[in-house]
Symmetry: C2
Subunit: 348 residues, 2 copies
């Protein structure tokens, strides 16, 4: 599958695309004719008081979030709520290295920060959809980074927040992990400082990235219990090649690298100023912080440390052999616990 056919309505739609105009990034560079892609589920109430926002995680699009979290009878029920799933900049549906016209294309796409995504989403919600109140902002991993940023930056708009398996400020260990993901790609000579003409030619880097990602993204227990059998794979190697490599191979390396840089630099204090403690202490939303017990990317202790700094919050821990990648909705037990937790929060 080519990069263009991967990042398409056919593969990831239906989604809408909203022009952001000339969008000035935190770096000072203006992203001209920037766009944000999003999907919606359900109907916005006349009072516009039933909106939920769910920003995307690393490498994901609105499609996987729809499949994993949204449905009748679930916490994110389109019969009750108007759910906006926002694609982060660089994810291939919103403005991204692979779809940007020259001269800001490819490796020359400017650096994007989590705060940029949140401002773009704010513009989408307020100017385009007329939404001034969110019942809930939630997201996993990089989506949790955006969730914290929302709660800090727009406290009057966010009634509830559920950061899942992610942090408000990147830890040194998490940054080291992300660096290993980056280097798995950039070490491929075909990456060529980002100036490849064919994304698929960077396959060695993409495959290496997939395996480094899998080594800490899933828990060791998933491998010892051969939990991948439940989703139809026949061996560890079958799982790593056909599931993990297969997932990343159609993606654009520069898109991934842009998101990885954003991930590593995620830090709510950048925009807000002050210490992490002082910034988180000002959050007014009701917060349910969700950690995955076996998460190798965002360990429970790091998530718990931030939850304790967040005033109106509780910590919910979910166990899954899928580790961080339980986020994908692959583990029925994780899914049912997430639903129960979010339903409780939405009633609070």
């Amino acid at each position: 599958m080519s990069v263009a056919s991967y990042y398409s309505q056919e593969a990831h739609g239906p989604f809408f695309t909203k022009p952001l105009g000339n969008f000035e990034l935190e770096s000072g560079v203006t992203l001209r004719n920037a766009t944000i892609a999003y999907s919606t589920f359900g109907t916005l109430s006349p009072a516009k008081d039933n909106a939920i926002l769910f920003p995307s995680w690393y490498s994901g699009t609105s499609k996987i979030i729809e499949q994993a979290y949204i449905g009748q009878g679930r916490a994110l029920d389109p019969d009750k709520y108007f759910i906006v799933v926002a694609n982060q900049l660089g994810n291939g549906l919103s403005s991204s290295p692979h779809n940007m016209p020259s001269p800001l294309n490819g490796a020359s796409f400017p650096e994007v920060m989590i705060g940029d995504d949140v401002r773009a989403q704010h513009q989408l919600l307020t100017e385009h959809l007329g939404i001034e109140e969110l019942q809930l902002v939630l997201g996993g991993s990089m989506g949790a980074q955006q969730t914290y940023e929302w709660a800090v930056r727009f406290p009057k708009m966010v009634k509830r927040a559920a950061p899942i398996a992610g942090t408000a400020k990147g830890t040194a260990h998490n940054q080291l992990l992300v660096q290993t993901f980056r280097e798995a790609i950039t070490s491929d000579p075909r990456w060529d400082e980002g100036c490849y003409s064919d994304a698929a030619a960077v396959q060695r880097g993409l495959r290496r990235h997939a395996r480094v990602f899998a080594a800490s993204g899933f828990s060791p227990r998933l491998f010892s219990e051969e939990g991948w059998r439940a989703i139809g794979f026949s061996s560890t190697e079958d799982f790593l090649t056909n599931f993990v490599e297969g997932y990343f191979l159609p993606m654009d390396p520069n898109n991934l690298l842009l998101m990885l840089n954003k991930w590593a630099k995620g830090d709510v204090t950048r925009g807000a100023g002050g210490t992490l403690q002082s910034v988180l202490s000002k959050i007014t939303a009701r917060v349910t912080t969700i950690a995955i017990q076996e998460d190798g990317f965002f360990p429970l202790a790091d998530i718990q440390a931030e939850q304790k700094m967040t005033p109106n919050s509780e910590l919910v821990t979910i166990s899954s052999p899928w580790g961080h990648l339980a986020l994908f909705g692959i583990d029925p037990e994780y899914n049912s616990k997430i639903d129960a937790t979010l339903k409780r929060l939405l009633l609070a």
Copy 2:
């Protein structure tokens, strides 16, 4: 520091070198004029009944084991015991890719298995040192692999065994991790299929390897608590560059790759035949299996599963923010718990 000056008596001695003659490997290839390097501490009793064997771990030599585990008043007390620290094949002191004459040098050095190391050590002990009984065989990580192999292969000779932070049979998750370490080096174009003329030129691969290694070798807590300050580093980056990269940079890439392949394929059932359960159930030594709670390379659950298959065994778990790399003797609390545990085992 050049590779030659790194793997030297000056840097890692004093050590002895014993010719193994023409040593036939499990693969069927004969390693001509093979040698095994070792250090000894203490004096062999006239009855030859006070010997302890400690094989080396990945990338380490007898020197670090001496520094971290051996001393008067410690469990491994040279006033009481005759302690033999054996350097595994490929570690740079014993026969290794970098010191082997053509045509078996460099990337053409034949594949070595854990069983080969144990047979080489057996030859050293019985033929050269006249030792027929070992009070204790112990080792960490790849040393634990060798310890299990000793207990399985030479049950009459091994009275006690202490595998630390390692397994008898590699798990799929551990093999995936080791693959990421390998690829961190082999992705460097200067590695050139192992045919580099200058090991130091492979520095990008060695540095990348160091960081992938550090990302799971230490625990996330070490980073969040900045535990590296205790050994004199000033920032995460200072620690990663000057400690972790600095440690690996003088080593020979083909040496490391040979050991990594051996690590990944470590499996006591290869030589013994049968299931892991049936092989471990035949161990007659008294075994203390030691796990490090925060170990990202060899998770507690995997170690515990094997301990439960081992008849005359107990499990001791030690907690350290240094994770797997507490093995290096860097954490005083780990060191004192190891000593107490080994003293108890040696009295049993």
